[in-house]
Point group: C2
Chain length 330, copies 2
């Protein structure tokens, strides 16, 4: 059952192809009479415009490509919410793709997205090499969420990871903790600033830092625990993110320690996971939905050519104290 084309509609309505095209894009310069006839014919045939043909002919695209590094992390779902509402409001359609936290798969995903010739690209938490991102940005506007960039053709939306980590450390110190370790996000996006913030804050407080390499997953959190306990036992932990923190807590419980009685744990992101009463994780909040919306806005502005320089949004994180942290029992 071949779908009807614009030609079929034109024939049935007794008008030209071009006129149907005008009606479909509701141009004002069509008489009410013809408009009605065309709409009726389209309705009867069940016609809907072929997006690909349209964007081929018009040399424009109404698609915003979104690459999500990890669909399992609830953080991204909320960023996508913001992106979706922002893009939809501006008349763009979201096409989502996933990269599975691996550079190779991300490359594939990026190529896939690019082959749609999207109006813009949002890369969420990508681990792609800077070169690949710069190359993509030569073709289409790119906005990076949770990843910074020096490239002037690339927009970015980030929270201030350094400040966030510092807030977390300050909080722990104020509770009397001194042995505070950090499980980092490894090569993941935003891992570096968070680590830097941790180190800076520890130094400022005259404390000895200890960083254990990790990843933004629950498994990595659980895996880090034995490593952590092998050395001098920390009384507090700053995890890479909420997912990681949950893994850490599981690992600690496994090892016979309780949270927060024996060890305080701080997460990062403030996803709904952290807010679960079971988990009740002290964490650093990022305005996720807002970040998505800003990303959409940046893209739209660039598409419309409304801006000269690159957009660099740096949002201020906020500490959310729940029950996974408490004063040192001493």
């Amino acid at each position: 059952m071949p779908r009807p084309t614009i030609e079929d509609v034109a024939a049935r309505a007794g008008v030209s192809r071009a006129l149907v095209s005008l009606v479909m894009r509701d141009s004002p310069k069509v008489s009410a009479l013809r408009r009605a006839a065309v709409l009726k014919a389209a309705e009867e045939l069940g016609y809907s415009p072929h997006l690909m043909a349209r964007s081929l002919a018009s040399r424009t695209s109404h698609v915003v490509g979104v690459m999500v590094s990890d669909l399992h992390n609830p953080f991204w779902a909320e960023v996508v919410d913001g992106l979706d509402s922002g893009a939809r409001a501006a008349g763009f359609e979201l096409v989502i793709n996933t990269g599975g936290r691996s550079p190779a798969r991300e490359r594939q995903a990026l190529d896939g997205l690019l082959s749609f010739r999207p109006a813009g690209l949002a890369l969420l938490g990508t681990v792609l090499p800077a070169k690949a991102i710069a190359a993509a940005s030569a073709h289409t506007p790119v906005v990076l969420v949770s990843r910074s960039s020096r490239t002037s053709t690339v927009d970015t939306v980030n929270d201030d990871g350094k400040a966030g980590s510092m807030m977390a450390v300050d909080h722990l110190v104020s509770l009397g903790h001194q042995e505070i370790a950090h499980i980092d996000g490894g090569g993941g996006s935003q891992a570096a600033p968070r680590r830097a913030g941790y180190l800076a804050a520890m130094r400022r407080h005259g404390l000895r830092p200890r960083v254990v390499r990790g990843e933004y997953t629950e498994a990595a959190g659980a895996a880090a625990v034995p490593v952590l306990l092998a050395g001098r036992r920390p009384t507090a932990l700053l995890a890479a993110n909420d997912l990681n923190a949950v893994g850490v807590i599981s690992g600690l419980v496994e090892a016979g320690l309780s949270v927060p009685e024996d060890v305080s744990v701080v997460g990062y992101d403030n996803t709904w996971l952290a807010a679960l009463r079971h988990v009740s994780l002290t964490t650093v909040d990022q305005p996720r939905v807002e970040m998505g919306r800003l990303a959409a806005q940046a893209l739209v502005r660039r598409v419309r050519g409304e801006r000269s320089g690159p957009a660099r949004h740096l949002l201020t994180p906020r500490l959310v104290v729940r029950s996974s942290t408490r004063t040192t029992g001493r």
Copy 2:
């Protein structure tokens, strides 16, 4: 910066357009010499084929559209994993979209997906009216995950929700529970069979059923608790899904009850959420990744015209006992 076209590559390599086309689709009937020349030219120009033009010309599509009802539910992330690997293996590209659990937004999302003229459509947990689904299936192969259908042009992949619920009830009964309530998924996909299974099992055991209307969200779970406690207090609860169960538990704790000491709770889905040591939820496992893979397979088969009747996969769920259920303390 207009991207290079096939024409540019052809000119640079000193061959015809058609030859470049053949090379790009690595046809065997191209001499090694020309192939190398073309690839070199393409490389130098940074050429990559325009997917839309390609599918327009070839009247085929390598896109599988995926509509996810709720990106926040970790269940779908895992189904998408399976779908992704299945589709990718068959040479298809996933285009994901989200419907936000609302029929209106799902309609929009569906239209958006359809306007790409995808090779197939996977609707995950959709709440769309059957008519809309049937209409879509007239245009392109459709597979439904976690939603059943009588339409012969629509494939389905489901777990046996009725059996799953019955297993859960049987488990609770075997622990000595009698006052077992069910918070259902409301109008959500698969809510009906799960409810039916619950009712059937209760009847079989000669117990009085009690269903509270809910939704597949954490919030709905928490909200159901006061309603539940207003009547005779149940000693066990079967939640709509894991997300819902987590909300229920939060609500119970809020109300001063503990799980499983005062009330046993069973979830559904066995997402990673249930496996968290904090949560350690007894739940009904659905083979999520497998379901995604079967969905991809169904689509691929239909696209290739390898099947006559509709595919109807009904997978058997499995009870996973963790620590949110225990014997009645009496």
